[in-house]
Amino acid sequence: MASRPASERRTILVTGGTGTLGAELVARLAGGSHASVVALTRDAARPRPGTLPPDVQMVTGDLRCGSAFGLDPSDAATLRARVTDIVHCAADTTFNRPLAEARATNVAGTQGVLAFAKECRHLQRMACFSTVYVAGRTTGCFAEQDVGGADGFVNSYEQSKAEMEAVVRDAMRELPIALYRLSTIIGDSRTGEVTGPNAIHHALRLLYQGLAPMVPGRETGLVDLIPVDFAADASHYLFAHEFSAGATYHLCAGASASATLGALLDATMTAFERYRPAWRKRSIARPAIVELETYELFVRSVEEAGNQVLLQATRAVQAFAYQLAYPKVFENRHAGVVLAPAGIAAPNVLEYYDRVVRWCVEKNWGTAS
């Protein structure tokens, strides 16, 4: 890659720039440097996130359309000529998508971004976002240098991201890429706001509605969750200030900032009662924490009974809850060493979890104004 004179303005292309993390990251990239930021978004109709600075350029394109993202060829060529940095955030994070569909975005889409990157003659650095859950069904400690999937995966999202990582690692031989594996993002630690509800929030809603009788796992099993502001601060710092091509970082809570499944369920019930006192009258019990075998028997029974409401509820929980049955701790030593001097660390989930649940309850999971 040919380097540009330092005086020339950098151009950072961010895929998924309007997503939960992407929007936060774009705001930091645009605000913290003299770079031009181009946010690639698939949905032209999607409202511009309020966090995006006005000088961020929005470009509508689709990773699934190949290395030009479906852009006009001349626009794509112009973009290639400008881009010095790529931050690849875009992903299909739906856990239970058919594998072929998940692969279309997460694997083929990434291949398109990498092909685009190879044609950017001024490219200096690229970040690809993955998930710590490429660990799949692995139990125990999962470190940043580990490659997951040896024991299989819980859902198509995990599998497609692991396959994406293989593609990215292969491209690392030619491109300056760092890999950032994220834990599950549950909201903003300062406000509790949830900009992108995911399976965790769906499960919280089912629990609130009294439709989640049990979850697989262990009372003392750790659940790794992070707030979006930490994810954005950490990835921005690593990319903008401590970029290291070929590195893999875990942006996760780790053992010290995680809470047990039992503690999270307790905190959930407490928050429901606190922020919706009338909910207490519904006498909804805390879900039982059960062995995977028992949970699967319940799911199978619901399927056999053909109860559509419970079927949808169990499927919504199932996609992520199975991961709870494979207890593990994500080790984040490399990220910690680099981030600590900057004072960036994931807060303990119990310090802000209450705010997230409060936001969900008071905003009716984002449907209330």
Partner: protein
């Protein structure tokens, strides 16, 4: 503490026992018979000619005869009914679309327990009805019998009786369970020869009172609360699941019991499940039908600790530990 227990018990089941296929052919199931078969049911017991009061009378007569108990010995009758109709007399055949027919408001005052006391010459017994707890009503009657025997020295023998029959034409399937008609009766006394009541526990969640519109929420609520109630009962009894020799169930689906056993960490072998398939869920008599059959089958030894658990609309979760 005064030792109180179930000194004797018996039950009545109608002779007519249609299979799932027969019930399906009659339109008496909500869903396919195969689903209920997969959940462990085989046949139901259906009262064709006998009323719930007939079943109660028959059961109590049998109990008194089997135990050589004089009617004069009964000091208190606690008559439990799961269905609202079980607390009234059947005064007329219910017209199509109705489940209960009363000809006159005075029919409200015709009580089965009074008729039972009269016809069986229980001349020394006062009576009370225990209802509005669904299938947990008979557990409440045993609990109240125990409390009475502890509190009132002049009461020596309490007759607990329960009889329920679904209205003619009603679906035999309720929340993936196959419902049967039946009755049970028991004598609760101080210093019992067997079945000492070690602990009882009940949780009521009235928020689910509208059972017809909250079916999914009720299914979801059942399991975690059942686990909690069983745990609390064991704690009250000062024992653990390891100490329990047999779980004597209510005859809801075997599948739901397998799930609940998984929740509480209880081996499948401890569940007395022989009657779930062949008897079905008799609304309010299951546990005591099963207790009697397990006894008659020679499965229970003196000193065995038994866990009885049931669940009733309302919602009510009830549990007791007995020492056989």
């Amino acid at each position: 503490m005064t030792r109180v227990g179930i000194d004797a018990l018996t039950y009545y089941l109608p002779a007519y026992a249609p299979t799932l296929a027969e019930l399906e052919a009659r339109g008496a199931l909500r869903g396919p018979a195969s689903t209920l078969a997969g959940f462990g049911f085989e046949r139901a017991r259906v009262a064709e000619s006998e009323s719930h009061v007939d079943m109660a009378m028959h059961t109590v007569r049998t109990l008194l005869a089997e135990t050589d108990t004089s009617p004069e010995e009964i000091d208190l009758v606690l008559y439990a009914g799961a269905l609202t109709s079980s607390s009234t007399m059947e005064c007329a055949p219910a017209p199509a679309g109705s489940v209960l027919q009363l000809r006159d408001f005075m029919d409200f005052f015709k009580y089965p327990v009074s008729q039972l006391q009269s016809e069986l010459d229980l001349v020394n017994a006062s009576v009370a009805g225990i209802d509005q707890q669904g299938c947990a009503a008979i557990f409440s009657s045993v609990r109240l019998a125990r409390a009475t025997l502890v509190a009132e020295p002049d009461v020596r023998t309490v007759l607990c009786v329960s009889a329920d029959r679904l209205p003619h034409g009603a679906s035999r399937e309720v929340v993936y369970n196959l419902v049967s008609d039946g009755a049970c009766a028991m004598l609760v006394r101080r210093e019992p020869k067997r079945n000492r009541i070690v602990a009882t526990h009940q949780v009521t969640k009235g928020a689910f009172w509208d059972s017809g519109s909250l079916e999914n929420e009720i299914i979801a609520a059942y399991f975690p609360t059942a686990r909690n109630v069983i745990g609390d009962t064991l704690r009250k009894a000062g024992v653990t699941l390891d100490d329990i020799r047999w779980v004597i169930p209510h005859n809801v689906s075997l599948r739901s019991w397998e799930i609940l056993l998984g929740l509480i960490g209880c081996p499948r072998e401890k569940l007395f499940s022989a009657n779930i398939g062949r008897v079905g869920h008799t609304i309010a008599a299951d546990n005591f039908i099963n207790l009697r059959d397990a006894t008659d089958a020679g499965l229970l030894r003196p000193g065995d600790l038994l866990l009885l658990f049931t669940f009733g609309y309302g919602l009510n979760w009830s549990c007791m530990v007995l020492e056989h």
